[in-house]
């Protein structure tokens, strides 16, 4: 299919700065009520990330200035799903986040991406919510975590937008996001956490019935393995925080993996070192992760050198 190429080829990264309101009233008070975040540290970490993307990996970086009115706007991954030359502008679950899309939409247009709006795309998308942190794109197919923030309707819109690809749903519950527990670690590699200590509560799909059961993340992996027509290599990491990485095959054709540094996930670093010929880029993300975000939450990756098959 025209859009199908190995995962990881990107030319641009779109990020949005950390506002002063970082961590404050970012939504419901419960989420970060007890969490104390260090704004300066968060901004430093953000700077490290963007620096790595630009200087190490070699992407063109587009930074949208922070907007204090939008305390969560730095989680830019949520507001767009991009593949090929199509960008689906999502509809975040929280009402107050839905205005975040405007700036992103402008950038997408400037990148000459075909912008697909979730709102007006179809009448039946009423009530559809979709956030990018629930979407794992492997280069061959989409997995959508049906979570507290992403619903089935949203997944349908995604499926309708990217018709070439199979869109499989993986129920996730208890506040977890799909990208929190897995991410791409290579063109054919999915990084999974199998943290036994912190068992994720996943919503398990039992036929038409959904039961919330305490399950190992491995169940999620099993489901994904069952759902896919393809075979992926799985890199398991002992810590959940390590499961979210950013893999990029940069313009230099080298494999880059941005992962959490050793002090944030001491047990998992050795796993990353198994990856052959990778350039590992430890990138701290401790502050953002306090707010439920991960490395990949902070950027949108675009490939503008898309070549048809």
């Amino acid at each position: 299919m025209a859009n199908m190429c190995p995962y990881g080829h990107f030319t641009h990264a779109v990020v949005r700065g950390i506002p002063e309101t970082f961590g404050k009233k970012a939504g419901d008070s419960q989420e970060n009520g007890e969490v104390s975040v260090d704004l300066a540290k968060a901004q430093r970490q953000f700077g490290c990330l963007t620096g790595a993307l630009r200087q190490k990996v070699g992407l063109q970086l587009i930074e949208i200035p922070p907007d204090p009115e939008l305390p969560e706007s730095w989680k830019i991954e949520d507001v767009a799903v991009i593949h090929g030359d199509t960008a689906l502008i999502t509809r975040p679950f929280k009402q107050q986040r839905q205005s975040e899309v405007e700036a992103v939409r402008r950038v997408m247009s400037e990148l000459n991406l075909t912008v697909v709006e979730m709102d007006r795309e179809q009448g039946d998308s009423v009530g559809a919510t979709l956030e990018g942190s629930d979407i794992l794109f492997t280069g061959r197919e989409f997995f959508v975590g049906i979570s507290s923030h992403t619903n089935r309707r949203g997944a349908e819109v995604l499926a309708d937008t990217f018709r070439d690809f199979a869109v499989s749903t993986v129920p996730v519950c208890d506040g977890a996001r799909l990208k929190n527990i897995c991410s791409m670690g290579g063109p054919n590699t999915i990084i999974f956490s199998n943290s036994d200590g912190a068992k994720k509560t996943l919503r398990c799909w039992l036929g038409a019935r959904r039961l919330c059961v305490m399950l190992d993340v491995r169940v999620c992996l099993q489901m994904m393995e069952q759902l896919t027509d393809h075979h992926y290599d799985v890199l398991t990491v002992p810590e959940e925080s390590a499961a979210n990485c950013i893999y990029i095959k940069g313009p230099s054709k080298r494999d880059f993996l941005l992962h959490r540094p050793a002090d944030e996930c001491p047990d998992s670093v050795s796993a990353f070192q198994k990856l052959q010929d990778y350039t590992l880029l430890p990138t701290a993300c401790s502050e953002a992760s306090k707010l439920g975000a991960s490395l990949s939450s902070l950027c949108l990756l675009v490939n503008r050198k898309h070549t048809y098959f």
Binding site: M1, A2, D85, V167, S168, L206, G207, V213, V219
Partner: protein
């Protein structure tokens, strides 16, 4: 197939050939022989017919012999290329039987005449000639005369050929009606008269829409098999790698079906619409592995169609890219001089919602393909198309167990489950152990995962049984094609009763790759044109695409109506097909018969089922009360728990590990399956039917009703029916049985009781059944080795529990009455069976059963008389004594517990503690039926509850039907379990052993119960050749 080769054909040949050769004297002798051998010849004819059917030769009856000859030749031509493997066999058969060798000899003569033709072709000719002669059978004497005539006429043949054919067609019309009536059962079993009649060879014009949109017209014999037409089409297309393709037709319900190459066309299309579409049936996952460009080209045409129609959804960019490759392949390099390329492009259809923007994109990409050859462009097209997620996915509408609309997609890798556009589950072929369908339910049994202990079964509901069977067949074929090295042979030695024997008959992908690697011919030249494609319609085939749910739903809405019409008939029948997949191998548990045949075979079982299902739920409130009671008992609770568990299991394949049930999930699931079946049937069934039947027993309805009420019994009865059919063809026997049985409504309780949720009971019974199935399989295996002529073993258990108050006489009588129903069943079977009406003790093959039977004969008779009334079936009364054993605990026999609650009887009978598990189970989920039957009678007591379940499970060799009828009146309850085990086989079955095994199992299953009666009925059918 119309062509039936008889010895007579030889005569014709002789006549025809006589002109050229001097063999006439021989021929005359042959003729005389033929007359003598008439019967043998008939058999031959049947065989020959089959052969010919495959090859599709036929000559209309009325054709003059000279014309016939010509036609046969023309038809044989396609077969030359790839002679069916079956031909050699047919030769052998012919030779074996007297006249046949002569035929061959004639064939040789023909050879001499026509040097070019291969031997097979020659044979064919001979056969066809013979067919023609067969028409003349009645007056064989004339043949000689004809021969004389023929010789002069032959010269004309070539010239007149076509005109003559047309004439024949016209003639066909008149005769068709007759043929149709007779042909239904045709090929295998035919009375001599029929054979004679059928020998007419009619030609039918088939219209095949090719992938480029053109129409291919060809004539085939009316009884030609699908294979013949398919080969003709492939020949026309110059296609060698044909295994990826198939012929599709629209059935009466506008559903697209695949023409089964091994069956007669006429019997599949079921209408006079000889319209077909040549389509890709199996989308090769890697088209680059195809050997020839022409194959890829045809695949491209199919995919262009799929894409343009929306069946294969793809994104804007992909549409554009595929369109650009299409242009490159069909038009060649972009010509900058071309005045208005966009106008040209806009005339073509590339996408369902094509717009200017897309066309511009197509043009832009098209320009970039300069220099690409058509073959390269096709290859690129396929390389892109094959990656689409819906490539090669055959979608079917279904509902999951909660009634949610989903789509089931069958593809090379397995079965995909879609909700709207989202994939919610996927079952790879290696994960699937068994595929089955029952009525409109479709089931897959999933191999347990690493962390899972049990198999699980996932059930889906299709719109109707046809859809379920269609899906099942597609699954069978796809699995066989993509996963097996060689197709599984259709299971011949299986039961008559349940299921279809359908198997994929073609080559598998592995085989076709092997074959195509041997293709050694210069690449055939063919023309790529898009013009045809543009104008071509979609054949009216319903397109199913995920995005088009709305439209489909409309169709669905329409479907039910159709069902209602057909249901009256179809509901009677039980369709069950199972496939067992061992790792990558399928063990099929099905029977090939067409649905009709299956239906017929199962008549007895289906009757029971039907009666259950159709019975309208009597009075809603009472069931509830009943349930309350049931729930109070521990057993019930258990069952309910299971139910809860079971639901998720069936539905969810993935989360098996979460379920921790002490019980076996697999069984549970199966139980559920059964339930669903029952429920659906109930819903479908018109309520009034059964009731009326019960209410209007001609003889003495009131008396009967009283009988039941009065009686409180718990009986287990095992009725073992052995059907030994030496060579018999399943279809035939089944048909006869089914039809007759279908008419009967023997079991009142059955009809009345089935309202709703028979889950618990099913579980138990299912387990039992499973056990039985296993045994059955074992039996089958053993039987195969043995020399007995039974092909199929069908154990059918029918367990019915009835709780009735017995006001009347003796326990024995009451029991007998209950038994009487069973007896009726048996009787039906016997009646149906051609050979043996009833098996009296003497007749009973099994030594085990005889003694028991003898005991109760007298009573049984009395009961029987009454029973017909009870059932409301007047015709059933049979004076034949059925052997009954009451409360006998004999080793081979199943124990039956007799509990008589009725006051009068209670003292006399041994009361069995309510502990009987089966009863409770049954009640819990089985929908309690209040004694609606009794309504007509004054005695109808509010407290009487009856539950009945029919469970049918199929395994390779076993079919089990269990009927449990429970009646509660006041504090009294009777449970009667009727098990009906049908052992059917062509040959090599040790019936005694099988019977003993079955009884033993039944006994083991219900240790608390005693075997009351064992009735052995043996049917023997006349041997038929295949």
């Amino acid at each position: 197939m119309t062509t039936e080769a008889g010895s007579e054909t030889e005569v014709k040949e002789k006549a025809e050939e006589s002109a050229a050769e001097p063999d006439q004297s021989e021929k005359a002798t042959e003729d005389s022989q033929e007359v003598a051998n008439a019967e043998v010849e008939e058999k031959e004819k049947a065989k020959v017919k089959e052969k010919e059917e495959k090859e599709g030769k036929g000559i209309s009856r009325y054709l003059p012999t000279w014309l016939k000859k010509q036609k046969s030749q023309s038809q044989t031509s396609p077969t030359k290329e790839a002679p069916p493997t079956e031909e050699p066999v047919s030769k052998v058969t012919q030779e074996e039987e007297g006249p046949a060798p002569e035929v061959n000899g004639h064939a040789e003569e023909v050879e001499e005449k026509e040097e070019v033709k291969s031997e097979q072709v020659k044979e064919k000719e001979a056969e066809t000639h013979s067919n023609a002669s067969a028409d003349t059978e009645p007056a064989k004497e004339e043949k000689v005369e004809e021969s004389a005539e023929k010789s002069p006429e032959e010269t004309k043949e070539t010239a007149e050929g076509e005109g003559a054919e047309e004439e024949t067609k016209e003639k066909e019309g008149a005769v068709e009606a007759e043929e149709e009536a007779g042909e239904g059962q045709t090929s295998i079993f035919q009375s001599p008269l029929r054979l004679v009649r059928k020998n007419k060879m009619k030609l039918v014009v088939c219209h095949v829409t090719l992938l480029d949109g053109t129409d291919f017209t060809c004539e085939v014999e009316k009884r030609a098999k699908g294979q013949y037409l398919f080969f003709k089409v492939c020949e026309h297309l110059n296609l060698l790698e044909k295994d990826y393709f198939g012929l599709a037709y629209q059935d009466n319900h506008d559903q697209k079906c695949w023409l089964d190459p091994t069956k007669e066309i006429k019997r599949q299309i079921r209408s006079n619409n000889w319209q077909f579409a040549f389509n890709v049936k199996f989308y090769p996952p890697d088209p680059s592995l195809l050997t020839e460009d022409i194959t890829r080209y045809l695949l491209c045409l199919q995919l262009r169609e799929d894409v343009a129609s929306g069946r294969l959804p793809c994104s804007f960019v992909t549409h554009a890219l595929l369109g650009s490759y299409t242009l490159q392949a069909e038009i060649g390099d972009y010509e900058p001089d071309q005045p208005r390329p966009l106008d040209f492009i806009s005339q073509l259809t590339f996408a369902p919602n094509q717009n200017k923007e897309m066309e511009e994109k197509i043009l832009e990409l098209y320009k970039s393909h300069r220099g690409m050859t058509p073959a390269q462009a096709d290859t690129q097209f396929l390389e892109n198309a094959k990656k689409l997620s819906m490539y090669g996915v055959d979608l079917h509408h279904a509902k999951d167990s909660e009634g949610v609309d989903i789509m089931l997609g069958v593809c090379a890798n397995g079965l995909l489950v879609y909700k709207d556009r989202l994939r919610i589950n996927r079952f790879a072929w290696p994960k699937i152990l068994k595929i089955s369908y029952k009525r409109n339910n479709f089931y897959i049994k999933i191999r347990p995962g690493e962390t899972e202990q049990f198999e699980s079964t996932v059930g889906f509901k299709l719109q109707n049984h046809r859809a379920a069977k269609r899906l099942w067949k597609v699954c069978v074929e796809n699995h066989s094609f993509f996963r097996l090295n060689a197709p599984e042979p259709p299971t011949k030695a299986r039961f008559l009763t349940l299921g279809s024997k359908f198997r994929y008959s073609g080559r598998t992908q592995a085989q076709t790759r092997m074959a195509s690697s041997l293709i050694d011919r210069p690449a055939p030249s063919f023309e790529r044109t898009s013009s045809k494609r543009i104008s071509r319609s979609l054949d009216g085939a319903p397109m199913i695409s995920i995005t088009e749910a709305g439209r489909e739903s409309a169709e669905n809405g329409r479907e039910p109506h159709l069902e209602l019409h057909s249901d009256s008939k179809s509901s009677l029948r039980v369709h069950g097909d199972n496939i067992y997949v061992r790792h990558s191998n399928l063990m099929l548990e099905d029977h090939d018969k067409t649905q009709e045949e299956v239906l017929k075979h199962q008549a007895s079982i289906s009757q029971l089922k039907r009666s259950f299902m159709e019975a309208p739920p009597p009075s809603p409130p009472q069931p509830n009360q009943w349930e309350k009671r049931l729930t109070s008992s521990p057993a019930t609770i258990r069952l309910q728990q299971q139910q809860v568990v079971s639901v998720p299991q069936t539905e969810a394949a993935t989360a098996d590990n979460t379920i921790s049930d002490t019980k076996e999930p697999a069984k549970t699931t199966e139980v559920e399956i059964e339930e669903t079946v029952v429920v659906q049937e109930i819903s479908r069934a018109p309520k009034p039917g059964l009731i009326t039947v019960a209410a209007s027993p001609p003889a003495a309805p009131s008396a009967e009703q009283e009988m039941r009420e009065q009686e409180v019994k718990v009986q287990e009865e095992a009725v073992v029916v052995e059907e030994a059919k030496p060579r018999k063809e399943e279809s035939i026997s089944s048909e006869s049985e089914s039809e007759e049985e279908a008419e009967y409504h023997p079991y009142l309780p059955v009809s009345i009781s089935h309202t709703q949720i028979p889950e618990e009971k099913e579980e138990e019974e299912e387990q039992e059944k499973q056990e039985e199935d296993k045994t059955a399989e074992l039996q089958v295996l053993a039987s195969d080795a043995s020399s007995l002529p039974a092909e199929v073993i069908q154990p059918a258990e029918e367990t019915s529990r009835e709780v009735e108050e017995s006001r009347k006489e003796d326990d024995t009588e009451t029991e007998k009455t209950t038994n009487a129903e069973e007896e009726k069943e048996v009787e039906r079977e016997t009646e149906e069976s051609t050979d043996d009406p009833m098996v009296t003790p003497d007749e009973a093959p099994n030594g085990l059963t005889l003694p028991e039977e003898g005991v109760t004969v007298m009573d049984a008779q009395a009961e029987e008389e009454e029973e017909p009334k009870m059932n409301g079936e007047p015709s059933l009364i049979e004076a034949e004594p059925l052997p009954q054993v009451i409360c006998c605990s004999e080793p081979p026999v199943v124990k039956t517990e007799m509990v008589t609650i009725s006051d009068t009887f209670a003292a006399q009978k041994t009361e069995i503690a309510t502990k009987e598990v089966p009863i409770v189970h049954t009640e819990t989920k089985t929908i309690t039926y209040e004694a609606a039957q009794l309504d007509g009678n004054g005695d109808g007591e509010p407290g009487v509850l009856m539950t009945a379940q029919t469970i049918t499970s199929e395994s390779l060799c076993t079919t089990t039907t269990t009927h449990i009828t429970k009646t509660l009146k006041g504090g009294l309850s009777e449970t009667r379990i009727e098990k009906r085990i049908v052992i059917t086989g062509d040959c090599d079955i040790d019936h005694d052993q099988a019977l003993a095994q079955a009884i033993k199992e039944a006994k083991e299953q219900h240790p608390d119960m005693s075997v009351t009666r064992v009735v052995v009925h043996k049917e023997t059918e006349l041997a038929e050749e295949d």
